[in-house]
Subunit: 325 residues, 2 copies
């Protein structure tokens, strides 16, 4: 039996972007809420059974990868070549151990591959065919690349190509929102999933997973699998998972910068997250959000876009989910 | 005409690791010093003609990539499959613009591809075949993968395989040092090249390039192309390029952590570099070094290994080069 540690907490996101209220029907909204709640519950069950934050974020992200609504795993967007290339990462706040995969094409659940890379101990980041092969060596489930395709994403890709865009929204829902527009909206580039958790032992963990940008150049890797950018966890500070304009998140090393502000200036979780997302990021043309939890179980979910699919739960409380501001 | 700005400065490295004095002959030493001095001069010429720090670090790293002594470009180590996979990155301290390539197999000078990714503006990081294709689209020089091979690296790879090692030293020179050992030495995993510079306009830039780990798993990407880990530049703080146990550098987000300590605590360049390399890194089993320059032209070259191939110059001064402590 472990002693009376902190109350476990988990938060998840399913991407940030232009999610105007008018763009989603009540039925569509309900599906997103259900998908987010299922992911929160998948992690919550692990935590309430005394499991680790690492296991909780893994199961929560697997749930989001398997849900066709979100841009990760099944439901990932199309590259410019009509294929799917997926990125994922995970980090253990206790040891700063980390694992990530980039540009994978055959791993059904990229976050499980990131976890296997971390567990292997030799590497932190594997990309491309080498990552697919590593997953096979580890006995993970491989699939045909077509497994990731959905009709909604194919239609989205077709529309983006017709407009000559190189990147557009990642969300099946916002697909409808952008239809009337003549130019791709920079707000619509954003789609990723992630989870952060605090377990009973006081350990923090974070995981992030994505299909990237619609119509992206083959080989493009964003902030999602970059330790310190789209994913970071450190028991001294916080666990954080990001979603947004990935290239700016990489240049600003967003996850680690939030942590460094907490560590070096004593700023609290909310202030540090807010400063980076609401002030620093926009100064470089970036938009998006983060989900974050600190070692006391405080949760922050700031975003600068119209909406961010998000959810959280503490202890045995029912999951709370939200889409708009 | 620009006004009397700061005196330009440039520093380069050719990797850190176990470089015992006994392992290098006088002739070998002289070749390393010459290779380092040539790289310093390549950047110095740019700076003294009023060129940018970005151009200076690009030319310095190209010089190191083309030199067969160093583990980058021609002279890169072998993967477990007998091929070469190269990583590189570059960052502009003025704008925080950045570009990187990972796991490339056909780009003669990976740092030029990183620069092209940055210049393109759409992406920060491209990997694998997608990166090779992007370089071709940009008109960069492509080569057969065999271009990167040297006899010294092939012999090193053979020895590593005979011992069943998955990673060993990156340096042609330390090849001789490890011969008497029966187990791969963790100190010998380290090999990378890089450059940092301050130009007359007061702008900072950093670039890093590597062939990675000898006998590495296909697809392995280390800290070299990770913005914030092996490469970081920010006019507010410093430009830094790292070399060492890449996986630990990634977990600690070394480049950005040095910058964050300077920004948030007011620590100076030397103190911040020293803290991360000499205290934080060893606490997680990491070894290596960094080269760094701040906006006043101060240079720091700390390393925790026996040696680090390094060189620097200020203004028109003759380059200073060194190998051992």
């Amino acid at each position: 039996m472990t002693g009376p540690g902190p109350v476990p907490a988990i938060a998840v996101h399913g991407g940030a972007g232009t999610v105007a209220r008018s763009s989603l029907s009540a039925e569509q909204e309900a599906r997103y809420h259900a998908g987010l709640a299922a992911a929160v519950k998948a992690g919550q069950i692990v935590l309430m059974q005394g499991g680790s934050a690492l296991d909780a974020v893994t199961e929560a992200v697997v749930s989001l990868e398997d849900c066709p609504l979100f841009n990760a795993g099944h439901g990932a967007v199309f590259t410019s070549e009509g294929t799917h290339e997926l990125d994922a990462s995970i980090m253990d706040g206790r040891t700063l151990a980390a694992g990530a995969v980039g540009c994978t094409r055959r791993i059904r659940n990229p976050v499980r591959a990131a976890r296997a890379v971390m567990a292997g101990g030799d590497y932190v980041f594997l990309v491309g065919e080498g990552a697919d092969r590593f997953a096979a060596e580890e006995g993970l489930v491989l699939v045909d690349n077509a497994y990731f395709a959905t009709e909604a994403r194919r239609e989205q890709w077709r529309l983006v190509r017709e407009r000559g865009g190189t990147a557009l929204d990642h969300d099946a829902a916002t697909l409808f929102a952008v239809l009337p527009k003549t130019r791709p909206d920079p707000d619509n580039k954003l789609g990723t999933v992630g989870a952060v958790a605090l377990d009973r032992d006081g350990n923090l963990a974070a995981a992030t997973s994505t299909g990237g940008l619609t119509n992206k150049h083959a080989g493009r890797v964003g902030d999602t699998p970059i330790i310190g950018a789209g994913c970071y966890a450190n028991n001294r500070t916080l666990a954080v998972s990001a979603t947004g304009s990935g290239e700016v998140f990489m240049r600003l090393v967003v996850g680690h910068d939030i942590s460094a502000r907490m560590e070096y200036t004593g700023a609290d979780l909310a202030a540090s997250c807010s400063h980076i997302i609401m002030e620093r990021l926009p100064a470089y043309g970036g938009r998006g959000g983060v989900i974050a939890v600190d070692r006391s179980g405080k949760i922050a979910l700031p975003f600068s876009t119209e909406g961010m699919y998000r959810g959280y739960a503490r202890g045995n409380d029912a999951p709370v989910t939200a889409i708009y501001r």
